[in-house]
Subunit: 288 residues, 2 copies
DNA sequence: TATGGATTGGAATTATTATTTCATATTCCC
DNA sequence: GGGAATATGAAATAATAATTCCAATCCATA
């Protein structure tokens, strides 16, 4: 308005991260009460998003006017515009991951650099995690864990895309001192390995469409020998579901032609650690 | 207040899901304009959470008074209390994963069943993903991809906990027709394998504390031969960081003693697919 | 088609909330 | 220690938003 005043055209933070950085940056030089509200804002961003100037000021132990001065000091013209940033943050975070994923796919295809690809994989993983925590059936998890906890040896069966999960399960079972056998395809000794399994053992089998024929074949053989199978797969039409005593449907989002493994991993780890716990409990009871 | 009025003690929905169910349930019997705002509310919950009665009404194409009647019909005493439910929903969803993770850890340790364990792993994965998407340096990613895109053969080096990531990288590189060699410990031929690597190749090495000695040893040897290394590790003190041409710091949250792999996986996939793209681009240029 | 009840639109009213102002207190520098 | 500049508190004011009210309209039913 006036020509003499400081022009104040210092960049006003428009997004939360910039704002956060700005605040942290100036933290030292802020007056006491302003610093107090600044700290409160970063600690309780949700309150800023939803509260009224009066309620926030009260929670932070300052006057409403201080809150407004804080906003102005950051370059906003009032509390309301500062609040917008905090609200936008909630919107962003909350905006359906699916939508974001769509956008990112488009962006990546448009050749928007490698950051877009990375963001895409992160979004795919997040989507998958959201999804599975909505859909996982607690009772199935309990069943699977009980079944596996009773097994003498746990066989882990997975090829190709699912193999990383299997190898992590094997690693974790090993660390928990649970006897296990990873059925790899490397040496071609799978048939022999499988022949050792008895109904007192159990199998964790993982396979997604297009199902690796070897996995299906081995699962069939092993189930015909009466060994119970816990399966992780992607649909009720999966051949694995047929052979399994307990099975989980996991829908992983994909990006750039590769599916996420995050949901499968989370489930696999929960099963593994669950079995470890259950075994400890049983051990304790036996002693008592 | 009055004794004669309808007591209105029909359950007022306190959480979003109940509210949603209530609305869907009554949908048929609602008057036209009320139905219109009801549909809008379920389609744009964020707008309800943040907007003012006037702005929402305008977006939905109704009068503010209709919005209030809608709220009252549901048993709320006004728009404001209806809005609370929509705001609470955002808070819930958004409640910092870290806090949730803390709570879940406590719950799981208190022996609250296996669902809590599962939720813990999901939360750990989500936290890690959030973290890495905040901290990843785009320039490093570009550097790593350029470096790997030039390599004749990409060697993938990881043991124990990191091995699943390595195997997924190898799988993905294979699918993309990029020559690669997974350095496994199985047959004990690692030293020989490594000896084949030349400065025209490149290595992706992954290791987290406690760093598997074999990984470190092999990384050292290979870097001494002048083969460039891209490392994924967990701190700048990591011995891997020393040998690496480019390295990434990835902080994975842990739960029940096992770290998530989700952030590492996302980064690994972005690198892999990024290399695939870059190669295609180069191929196209050569032709042109 | 006339009639009563329900529904709707729009403006008036009331309540709430942000912002400004000014007196008082604190801090910092000479 | 004095004085100017800055910071703070509290209440007044202005702005904005929610709610209510009433007239107009629509709709079903006789």
């Amino acid at each position: 308005m006036s020509l003499d005043g400081p022009t104040m055209d210092e960049r006003v933070p428009r997004d939360f991260e910039t704002l956060r950085a700005t605040i942290l940056d100036r933290r030292e030089s802020l007056p006491k009460r302003i610093a107090q509200i600044a700290a409160y804002a970063l600690d309780n961003p949700d309150d800023i998003a939803f509260g009224t100037a009066a309620s926030i000021a009260a929670s932070a132990g300052v006057q409403p006017s201080t809150l407004i001065r804080f906003a102005q000091q950051l370059g906003f013209d009032g509390f309301t515009s500062l609040q917008q940033v905090f609200r936008e943050r909630l919107r962003e975070r909350n905006s359906s991951y699916d939508e974001r994923l769509q956008a990112l796919r488009a962006k990546a295809e448009g050749g928007a650099g490698h950051r877009a690809i990375f963001d895409g994989f992160v979004a795919a993983a997040s989507t998958s995690l959201n999804d599975i925590s909505r859909t996982l059936d607690d009772a199935h998890l309990e069943d699977a864990i009980s079944l596996l906890a009773k097994a003498q040896t746990i066989y882990v069966l997975a090829k190709r895309r699912s193999y990383p999960v299997a190898s992590y399960i094997a690693y974790a079972l090993g660390k928990l001192n649970i006897r296990n056998q990873l059925i790899e395809s490397a040496a071609g000794l799978n048939a022999e390995m499988i022949a050792f399994a008895t109904p007192a053992d159990a199998v964790i089998a993982i396979s997604f469409s297009p199902y690796a024929p070897a996995t299906i074949e081995e699962a069939r053989t092993i189930s015909e020998h009466g060994v119970p199978i816990v399966a992780i797969t992607d649909s009720s039409f999966s051949p694995l579901a047929q052979f399994a005593r307990v099975w989980f449907e996991v829908a992983e989002a994909d990006f750039a032609g590769f599916r996420s493994l995050s949901a499968t991993m989370a489930l696999a780890m929960a099963m593994t650690v669950g079995v470890g716990e259950k075994r400890r409990d049983i051990g304790r009871k036996r002693k008592a």
